[in-house]
C-alpha cells in the first residue's frame, strides 16, 4: 500500500512516521503511537472527544489527515503534564467532580486548554461557549464549567 512520510512533533517529541494517505490524526495517535487518551465517539467532527491541540489550537483529530499536519506540533492529554505534575485543568476536573464515565474528558480538557491558551481569564459565558462544541452525556456540564473556572483561577 502507498504510504506517506510525515514528521510530527507529538508531546514535545519529534516522530517520523509512514502513514496511509487517508489516515486520520486520531488513528495515527491511537493506533500507531498508542496515545489512546483521545477518543473516537463519532468520527464526524460532531462530539469533540477526539480533540487535541495542533500548534496550540484545539482541533478534532478525527477530521484531520495526518499527512496534512506534517511538521506540526501536536499535544494530547498524555502530554499535558508539566514537570511531572498534572495540569491544573486535570486537577480541577478531578476535584470538582467534572468526570463521570470519562469518555468525553480528554476532549473536554484539551478544548479547555485551547481556550486558556488564547484567553487566560475566560468568563463563564466564554467557557460555556467554548466547551459547547463538545458532548458529554453524563455530567450535565455544570461541574465541567466549574472545573475550567477553577483551573483558570489557579493558573492566574
Amino acid at each position: 500500500m502507498k504510504t506517506v512520510k510525515v514528521t510530527i512533533n507529538v508531546n514535545n517529541e519529534k516522530i517520523k512516521l509512514q502513514v496511509k494517505p487517508y489516515e486520520t490524526l486520531l488513528e495515527t495517535l491511537r493506533e500507531r503511537l498508542a496515545l489512546t487518551g483521545a477518543k473516537e465517539a463519532c468520527s464526524l467532527g460532531s462530539c469533540g472527544s477526539c480533540t487535541v491541540l495542533l500548534n496550540g489550537t484545539p482541533v478534532r483529530s478525527c477530521l484531520i489527515l495526518t499527512p496534512e499536519v506534517d511538521g506540526a506540533s501536536i499535544t494530547t492529554i498524555e502530554g499535558l503534564k508539566e514537570d511531572g505534575k498534572l495540569h491544573p485543568l486535570q486537577e480541577a476536573f478531578m476535584e470538582k467532580g467534572a468526570v463521570q464515565c470519562g469518555f468525553c474528558t480528554s476532549g473536554m480538557i484539551m478544548t479547555a486548554k485551547g481556550l486558556l491558551n488564547r484567553n487566560k481569564k475566560p468568563s463563564r459565558a466564554e467557557i460555556i461557549k467554548s466547551i459547547s462544541s463538545n458532548i458529554c452525556r453524563c455530567t450535565g456540564y455544570k461541574k465541567i464549567v466549574e472545573a475550567v473556572e477553577e483551573a483558570s483561577k489557579k493558573m492566574a
Binding site: E40, E78, Q90, E91, Q100, F103, G140, Y141
Partner: protein, 758 residues
C-alpha cells in the same frame, strides 16, 4: 453518625486520575495480540425476504478470516427475553437493524470492504410501523409463529375498585399522552472482544452493566454451540456510559463469539456512532390514556391507565418496563383505587431496551400532566393538590409497597420555597411555574431471582485493603462510594482502599447496575464485609496488644486502645505480625447482601424494593409566543436520598440526570420513518450541550433510611423522572397550552397556541 470521617464528604472519584490523564482503558482501547476486527452487515429494509445471500466474493478478499451468516449459528439459538431474536437472521428480516452476515478480518478497513462484497437480494415486504395498526384484528403478524402482535405479557394491575371510585368522585379528568423514542447516546460506543483459549473457555472483554447475567447468557450460548461445560470470564473495560443500554446481551456479542470460534483468534467488534444510533435499543415510545379523580377536597380517588408500547421487532428488557411503570402508577401520591393495563406490541421498528428510569419517565409524564389538569378542574392550586396527596412514611401503598423513609413533603416544600411558587404562579405573562414529583425504587428492586451483590475484602501486609465487588461502575462513581464505606467502617484513609470490580473470575456475583440499586445493595454488601474484617482485625490486634478487642478502635490506620492511648500499633504492622507467625493467617472477609424485598406475585403486588426514593422538581419557564421557544429560568431538583454518602457525586447524578430529562422534554427524538432512522448522528439528533444548561439547584433531603448503608437510598435514575411533566406544567402556567406529546418543540407550542386562539 456525627463524627463520620469519609462518608458524607465531597470526595473526588477514585478513578478520576485515570480518566483525567487519558489513561483509562475503554473497550475501544483493548488490544490483544493476533486480534481480528469484526463488522456486521445489517438489513437494507425494515421488512423483507432474503432471496439471495452470497458471501463468496467477501471470503476471497485478502485479509478476511471468516464470513458468517445464519447458517453458522446453531439453528434454534435465540436471544432476548422472549427468545425471539436469532443473532443472525435468515429467511426474513423484521427491522432495519437485523444482522444478516458478519466478517472478521485483519483490519477494520478490510472487514468493511468485505461487507460491501456480500451480495444480498431482498424482496421488500410491507411493514407495520404503528403499534395501533399492529394491534388490530387481522393485522399482518410480525412473528409468523406468534398468534398476535401483542406480546404475551399480562401487564395488568388492579387495586381497589376503579369503577366505583369513578362514580363517587367529585372531579374527573381524562386525556391521552405520548412519548417518543430517545436513545442513551453513551459517548463510548458498544463493543466487545471475544477470545477463546485452547480449551474453548471464553473470555469476553466487555462494557456490560450485567457481568454476572452476561456470563450466564454466554454459557448458554456456548452450550448451544455444542461447547458444554465451558467457563466464561467477563472482563469489563472502563465503561463509557451505560444508562441502561448495556443491561442485556446483544447480537453483536454472539456474533463476535461465533467469529472468534471460527477463526480461533480474538475478535473485536466496536460500534460506529451510526451503529450506536440505529442498532442499539432506545427507550420505548408510549401512548397513555389516563384518567384521574378526586373528591371535593382534592383527595385522589382513583387512577386509571391504559398504555400501548411500541416494542419493535424483538424483545429485550424494554418489554418489561411496565413492571416499573406500575410503581408510580400505583404509588405516586396516595391513590386508593388503581387500574393499569399495558400492551407491548411487535412492530417492524427498532426494538427497545431499558433506559435510565426504566419506564418511569413515560408513566410520570402522563400522571403528573394529568394531575395538573385535575387540579385545574377542582379549582385547587396544583402544588396544593400534591401536598394533600403526598406519600408519607409508614404507608403501605395499594401495590403493597411498604414505605419506610419518605421525604416527598419536604421536597415539595423546597420547590414551593425556592421557586417562589406563590409569587410566580398564574401570572399569565409568558412566564410560569410547574412542578412534578417522583417515586422510584431506592433500595434495590427484585426483578430477578436474586437482587444480591457480593463483596470480598482482603487485607494486605501493609494495612491496605483490596475490595472485590460485584458492582459495576458505569461512571456514576459506585467504586468511590464503596471505598468510602469500607474506609469509614475499618477506620483507614480512603487512599488505602483499592476497589476491583471488573472480572467475573475474581469478583462475586451481582445482578447488575440497574434500578438505582448500587449504592444501596453493593453499599450494604461492602458494609457487611467491612464490619466482618474490622472484627477480625480487632480480635487479632487484641492479642498483640494484650487488650480486650472491645476496647480497641482504629483511626487513620492506627489500632489503639480507647482506655490506654499508649497501647497502639499501625495497622500494617499488626497485619504482618498476624501473617508472619507460626500458624499465621491473612485476614479476609466476605459478605453477600440480598435485600429483603419481594418479587411481585401473580397480580403484580409485593414490596419490590426495601426503600423508595422520592423527589420533586419545580421549574420556572419563559415561553416566547412568537417563536415557541422555551427558556428555563429556574430549576429546582429536590431529592430524598436518605443520606448523601458523597454529595459531590450525588450532585453529579442530579445535574446529569436533570439535563438528560430536559433533553427528553424539549428536544430529543429519534425520527423513524417507516422503520428507518432519519437522524442517527449527533448533528441531527441533538442532545443538550453546555449552552442548554439552565440554572439547576440540586436540593438534597436526608431522611436516614434505616436499611440503607449509613442511611442512603438510590439516586441514579430519579434525576430525570419528573423533568418532562414539570416543564410541561410550567409551560401551561405560562401560556395556557398543554403539550401532551413529547418532546415539547417550538412547532408544537406554536400550533397549540394557534389552535387555542381559534
Amino acid at each position: 453518625m456525627d463524627n463520620l470521617k469519609v462518608v458524607g464528604k465531597k470526595i473526588p472519584k477514585i478513578d478520576a486520575p485515570l480518566k483525567a490523564t487519558g489513561a483509562a482503558l475503554y473497550i475501544q482501547d483493548v488490544k490483544i495480540p493476533g486480534m481480528l476486527h469484526g463488522k456486521i452487515l445489517y438489513s437494507q429494509y425494515p421488512h423483507a425476504r432474503i432471496i439471495k445471500l452470497d458471501t463468496s466474493k467477501a471470503e476471497k478478499l485478502p485479509g478476511v478470516r471468516a464470513v458468517v451468516t445464519a447458517k453458522d449459528m446453531p439453528p434454534n439459538f435465540r436471544i432476548g427475553i422472549m427468545k425471539d431474536n436469532p443473532p443472525l437472521k435468515s429467511g426474513k428480516v423484521l427491522s432495519i437493524r437485523d444482522e444478516i452476515a458478519a466478517v472478521a478480518a485483519t483490519t477494520p478497513e478490510i472487514a468493511e470492504e468485505a461487507l460491501s462484497l456480500i451480495e444480498v437480494e431482498y424482496e421488500e415486504l410491507p411493514g407495520i410501523f404503528d403499534p395501533l395498526e399492529a394491534m388490530k384484528e387481522g393485522a399482518m403478524l410480525i412473528h409468523e409463529e406468534a398468534k398476535s402482535n401483542i406480546l404475551k405479557m399480562p401487564w395488568r394491575l388492579i387495586c381497589g375498585d376503579v369503577e366505583k371510585a369513578k362514580q363517587e368522585s367529585a372531579y374527573i379528568v381524562e386525556d391521552t399522552f405520548s412519548t417518543q423514542w430517545v436513545t442513551h447516546c453513551c459517548l463510548g460506543t458498544s463493543g466487545c472482544v471475544a477470545h477463546f483459549d485452547m480449551h474453548n473457555n471464553l473470555t469476553m472483554y466487555s462494557n456490560t452493566q450485567i457481568p454476572s447475567l452476561a456470563q450466564n447468557d454466554f454459557v448458554e450460548a456456548l452450550n448451544a454451540f455444542g461447547l458444554k461445560n465451558r467457563r466464561v470470564r467477563i472482563i469489563q473495560a472502563v465503561i463509557g456510559g451505560g444508562f441502561g443500554s448495556k443491561l442485556d446481551t446483544y447480537a453483536y456479542e454472539y456474533i463476535a463469539i461465533l467469529l472468534a470460534l471460527k477463526t480461533r483468534k480474538p475478535v473485536k467488534i466496536i460500534f460506529t456512532r451510526e451503529e450506536e444510533f440505529f442498532a442499539t435499543s432506545p427507550r420505548q415510545c408510549t401512548i397513555t390514556k389516563i384518567s384521574h379523580g378526586c373528591d371535593k377536597d382534592g383527595r385522589l380517588t382513583f387512577r386509571d391507565v391504559e398504555m400501548v408500547l411500541d416494542n419493535g421487532a424483538y424483545t429485550s428488557w424494554g418489554a418489561t418496563t411496565p413492571s416499573v411503570m406500575m410503581l408510580p402508577i400505583s404509588s405516586l401520591y396516595k391513590v386508593p383505587n388503581v387500574r393499569y393495563i399495558a400492551k407491548c406490541v411487535y412492530t417492524n421498528n427498532t426494538y427497545c431496551q431499558a433506559m435510565r428510569g426504566y419506564g418511569n419517565p413515560q408513566a410520570t409524564f402522563a400522571i403528573e400532566s394529568s394531575l395538573d389538569q385535575l387540579a385545574e378542574k377542582a379549582g385547587i392550586d396544583p402544588l396544593e393538590l400534591r401536598r394533600i396527596n403526598a406519600n408519607e412514611p409508614g404507608e403501605i401503598t395499594p401495590q403493597r409497597f411498604k414505605i419506610t423513609s419518605c421525604g416527598m413533603k419536604e421536597c415539595i416544600e423546597e420547590v414551593y420555597k425556592r421557586l417562589n411558587w406563590k409569587e410566580k404562579r398564574g401570572k399569565d405573562n409568558g412566564r410560569g411555574v410547574g412542578m412534578a414529583s417522583l417515586i422510584h425504587v431506592g433500595g434495590g428492586a427484585r426483578v430477578y431471582k436474586s437482587d444480591g451483590c457480593g463483596t470480598i475484602i482482603k487485607m494486605d501486609d501493609f494495612g491496605k485493603v483490596d475490595v472485590f465487588t460485584g458492582a459495576s461502575d458505569i461512571g456514576q462513581g459506585s467504586d468511590t462510594v464503596i471505598a468510602q464505606i469500607v474506609a469509614e467502617v475499618i477506620g483507614i484513609p480512603i487512599e488505602d482502599v483499592n476497589v476491583i470490580n471488573n472480572d467475573t473470575d475474581i469478583c462475586p456475583w451481582d445482578v447488575g447496575v440497574h434500578a438505582s440499586r448500587t449504592t444501596f445493595v453493593a453499599g450494604n454488601a461492602a458494609l457487611g464485609a467491612a464490619r466482618k474484617i474490622r472484627e477480625q482485625i480487632l480480635e487479632a490486634a487484641g492479642k498483640i496488644l494484650d487488650e480486650d478487642p472491645a476496647d480497641l478502635d482504629i483511626k487513620d490506620g492506627m489500632v489503639f486502645s480507647t482506655k490506654n492511648k499508649e497501647k497502639s500499633t499501625p495497622l500494617g504492622k499488626a497485619l504482618r505480625k498476624i501473617h508472619y507467625t507460626l500458624g499465621g493467617k491473612m485476614l479476609m472477609a466476605e459478605y453477600f447482601y440480598d435485600p429483603a424485598n419481594e418479587n411481585f406475585d401473580k397480580e403484580f403486588k409485593g414490596n419490590l424494593s426495601v426503600s423508595y426514593a422520592y423527589g420533586a422538581h419545580g421549574v420556572e419557564v419563559e415561553v416566547d409566543r412568537e417563536t415557541g421557544k422555551v427558556k428555563i429560568l429556574n430549576y429546582v431538583a429536590a431529592h430524598d436520598v436518605g443520606k448523601a454518602i458523597n454529595p459531590l457525586l450525588l450532585e453529579g447524578q442530579i445535574y446529569g440526570g436533570g439535563l438528560q430529562g430536559i433533553g427528553y422534554a424539549l428536544g430529543e427524538k429519534m425520527v423513524y420513518q417507516n422503520g428507518r432512522l432519519m437522524n442517527g448522528n449527533f448533528l441531527d439528533y441533538k442532545i443538550p450541550t453546555a449552552k442548554d444548561v439552565p440554572p439547576i439547584q440540586p436540593v438534597i433531603v436526608e431522611t436516614d433510611e434505616k436499611d440503607g448503608p449509613f442511611g442512603a437510598k438510590g439516586i441514579g435514575e430519579p434525576g430525570l423522572v419528573p423533568t418532562a411533566p414539570a416543564i410541561a406544567n410550567a409551560i401551561y402556567d405560562a401560556i395556557g397550552v398543554r403539550i401532551k406529546d413529547l418532546p415539547i418543540t417550538p412547532e408544537k407550542i406554536l400550533a397549540a397556541l394557534k389552535a387555542k386562539d381559534k
